[in-house]
Amino acid sequence: MSTQTDTLWGGALEKIKLWARVNSPWAIHYNSGSCNGCDIEIVATLTPRYDLERFGIKLKGSPRHADVLICTGPVTRQSRDRLKRIYEQMPDPKFVVAVGSCATSGGAFQGCYNVVGHIDEVIPVNAYIPGCPPRPEAIIDGVVKLLTSLQAPPKSEK
């Protein structure tokens, strides 16, 4: 009997946790070698025309406050450590979105000597948004797809 209520409570708690997580994804943005194009489009999604705050997304400065790491650009050698470090500094549960063709595959910068590769060669990525740069709408679409995928399984762990 008591175990049953426990699971009931546990289930409800999980649901609440998930609900809060999906509805309040605070983001941090890191540019590991991008050309700026994707970055301005990410900033544009915060501005009145697109307004990501509708989904509860706030761009935070400190990785400690963030749930979602938005990455742009291929990873250069100098910024690889920094990217890893930022990822490690984020508290669990955390998600990574790679924005732009360079972030998903290296794009036009494949084969440049100072480029390590794309984001998921360094840290795990949860969602990819190709485009050069993707339209702000496409970025919103990607974020929504990520959030939807979190909701899909009843208990999502990382």
């Binding site: 009145p48 025309r49 697109y50 307004d51 509708r54 063709s101 998903t104 595959s105 290296g106 794009g107 036009a108 494949q110 998921d120 990525v125 949860n126 969602a127 990819y128 948004i129 190709p130 485009g131 050069c132 993707p134 339209r135 709408e137 496409a138 919103i140 679409d141 990607g142 929504v144 797809k145 990520l146 995928s149």
Partner: protein, 153 residues
Amino acid sequence: MKFGTMLRDIWGSVFKKPATQRYPFERLEAPDQFRGTLHWTPGKCNGCCLCMKDCPSNAIELITIDKKNKQFVMRYHADRCTYCAQCVRNCRLECLGMAHDEWESAGLKREDFVVNYGTEADIATLLAKHSPTDAGEPTASGAGPGGGSTATP
């Protein structure tokens, strides 16, 4: 001393409709010029590979099944594409085009971005030739029916 030069803006906005578009609840079309996902129409292509040659990011692979019968499969890496449309310009036979309404291409798996264009038979030949576990070879590739189909990433 002058303060509040934006006072009228802010209070005006309170009584105006916000500038925000309601995407994704209301979808607004991209303009016709927009360079979205690349498409390839088989049949016309003669395999000159000019599209491949000038692609700044290796997004296009033109795989020859049978050169004489003009049987090709184009493997398109949407994740690499820089959407510059140089390939479209280079193609004199107008096999290539960029869809202006395909820009919601975000995905959760990188493999989904690789698309094979071509007739169903050609894609099947290609897949048979290479083992399906081939790196970067998606299971979703041959998904679309008929020629010029997209496996929507």
